[in-house]
Amino acid sequence: MGGFHIVVLVKPVPDPACYDRVEIDPATGVLARQGMPSVLNPSDRHALEEALALQERHGGRVTLVSMTPESSAETLREALAMGGDEAVVLSDRAFAGSDSLATARVLAAGVAKVSPFDLVLAGNESADGGTVHVPSQVGELLGVAHLANVIRLEVDADGGVRTRTRIENGYMEVEGALPMVLGVRREINTPRYTSLMGVLASLEKPIRVLGAEELGVDRARVGMEGSNMRPGKMSRPSFRRKGERVKGGPEEAAARIVGILRAEGVLG
């Protein structure tokens, strides 16, 4: 068959459209996110698109791997409707409260479980946490080359890799060879739409669920207990200001604003 085995790391996240509704319980200081639907993390769609484009070009297999509660498995079905051959859900109560490195440890164990792999693709960051840690840390734990902020990717049939990564006011071109772990930014591509055929096909695709036992991860090294980082107080930052209404039509209001500009000494 040839081609590569590409693993795409995906994460169901609370729908970013609902983040204005995030509240912190004043009594417990815990995040209340009830009623927020899960969606596939936005940049993960771009990782999956990149994997599917490579599969179309070179053949091979695409496996989705996700650390998420089993209850979010439906979001994985949604991803499989876009494409990919199968999904593996890494789910265990022991994983709850994992920081980025403990999460990377679980994901690396998941990737090892579906090995051999040639390429791991992930969204650069998650919409909820947004650390940009996971691609690099999975790469470190798997002992392979890795890059974050990838905005262009070419993979030759013999496994040569050429990338472009985003830096401030420009880009870098970085080369290497498979196996690699790459975190991709949204500008890398435009994800395809899910077709009805895709939705129907996804119903036949296997979704395996693996726990700590099957993955062979040490429970003491994952979850809250295995995390080096511990959360303390949470709060909703307040950006409230005096909110004075400037009266009058455009001319009158403009004159008032010019008065403010002058008072602040920025009129030159």
């Binding site: 902020n149 990564t165 870098m172 060879a177 080096n228 980082m229 209001a253 403009a254 030159g268």
Partner: protein
């Protein structure tokens, strides 16, 4: 893999990892140096050291010392330029393991946000991501303030057991320290020894940086920003005209950037963009999502213009103008020209849609 010392802070030092861009120290590197020096002072005196990786970088090492670093670890070698996470990560992890600092700070630039987790994984220690504030508590415990959910939730994060405590810091959060005529100690490292046995697999073949057009957001006294409500490239030109009139910089929200109306990512303000602190910020067609608001919280005066009197942005503004920006901006430009005493001239107009 390099093992870290798990004994808390045996030397108590605060380190910053310096980044250079085109032969100059990155602004964020000086910002984190400023914060490190401040925390060291408050703790009653701790060593503050900088690490600099590069080629022919001795001059920059002296510069870091002149900004207040007690010690500069300099890895000066052709293999340290340009940046690659494997070569840089290996050298840093080994230096940290050898010296045992209490705290290591990175600038959360594109390279820093990749290098920091690489080093944290090698050392098996905790890392706060894109921190917007830092504070050293009793016993040298570092409070790392991070924002999640697009700026809506602030969480204090800690790394209680492992050392060093590591944080990447969002650019624009702290002030650079004043430059002095001080000379610190520069420790030249043997890069070949630090890289021994390390696999370097990446090749950086090209680095392209283009100086962005227009007034940079950082350091601008006036910022004129636009959001999704601007509606197109043509009306966007009105904001650029206003900014020129005030010698200000133009900024944008994520949705305006995604629409392609702006001059690029370097103009985006917010959690995934820049933090600005102008004397006056003028916002147009912006709804007021925390994603954007986080990036302007330290602005002197915030003026918002929106045609929707109930736009959430008004709650986080000092002055609220309920108006169609297509009428208001030309009026404002006329008033500014009048106030400056020059010839009023007719500002551009764009069709006002219903």
């Amino acid at each position: 893999m390099t093992g870290a010392s798990s004994t808390p802070g045996r030397k108590g030092a605060i380190w910053i990892v310096a980044e250079q861009i085109g032969g100059k120290l990155a602004a964020v590197s000086l910002e984190i140096l400023g914060q490190a020096l401040g925390m060291a002072r408050e703790a009653g005196g701790r060593e503050v050291a900088a690490v600099l990786l590069g080629k022919d970088a001795g001059g920059l090492a002296d510069e870091l010392a002149s900004f207040g670093a007690d010690k500069v670890f300099l890895a000066d070698d052709p293999r340290m330029e340009p940046y690659r996470n494997d070569a840089h990560g290996a050298v840093l992890a080994r230096l940290v393991a050898r010296e045992g600092p209490e705290i290591v700070l990175f600038g959360a630039s594109a390279c820093g946000e990749e290098l920091a987790p690489t080093v944290a994984a090698r050392l098996d220690t905790g890392l706060g991501a894109h921190c917007t504030n830092l504070d050293m508590e009793g016993g040298g415990l570092l409070m790392m303030g991070v924002l999640g959910f697009g700026g809506r939730v602030h969480t204090e994060m800690f790394c209680p057991a492992r050392r060093p405590q590591m944080a990447s810091v969002k650019p624009g959060m702290f002030q650079p320290p004043p430059r002095t005529d001080r000379r610190g100690t520069v420790v030249r490292e043997d890069v070949a020894a630090l890289l021994e046995g390390e696999k370097i697999r990446l090749r950086a073949v090209k680095v392209v940086r283009e100086a962005p057009e227009g007034v940079p957001l950082e350091g601008a006294d006036v910022v004129v920003a636009g959001g999704f409500g601007i509606g197109g490239k043509e009306p966007w030109a009105l904001l650029e005209e206003l900014a020129r009139e005030l010698s200000g910089a133009v900024g944008c929200t994520r949705p305006a950037l995604d629409e392609g109306w702006t001059s690029g990512e370097h103009t985006m303000i917010g959690t995934s963009g820049k933090t600005v602190r102008p004397k006056v910020y003028l916002g147009f067609g912006i709804s007021g999502s925390p994603h954007h608001t986080v990036g302007i919280k330290d602005a002197g005066v915030i003026v918002s213009v929106n045609s929707d009197a109930r736009a959430p942005v008004f709650e986080s503004s000092d002055y609220c103008v309920v108006s169609d920006f297509r009428k208001f901006v030309p009026a404002l430009i006329r008033e500014i020209r009048k106030a400056k005493g020059g010839s009023p001239g007719e500002p551009s107009t764009v069709p006002v849609s219903k």
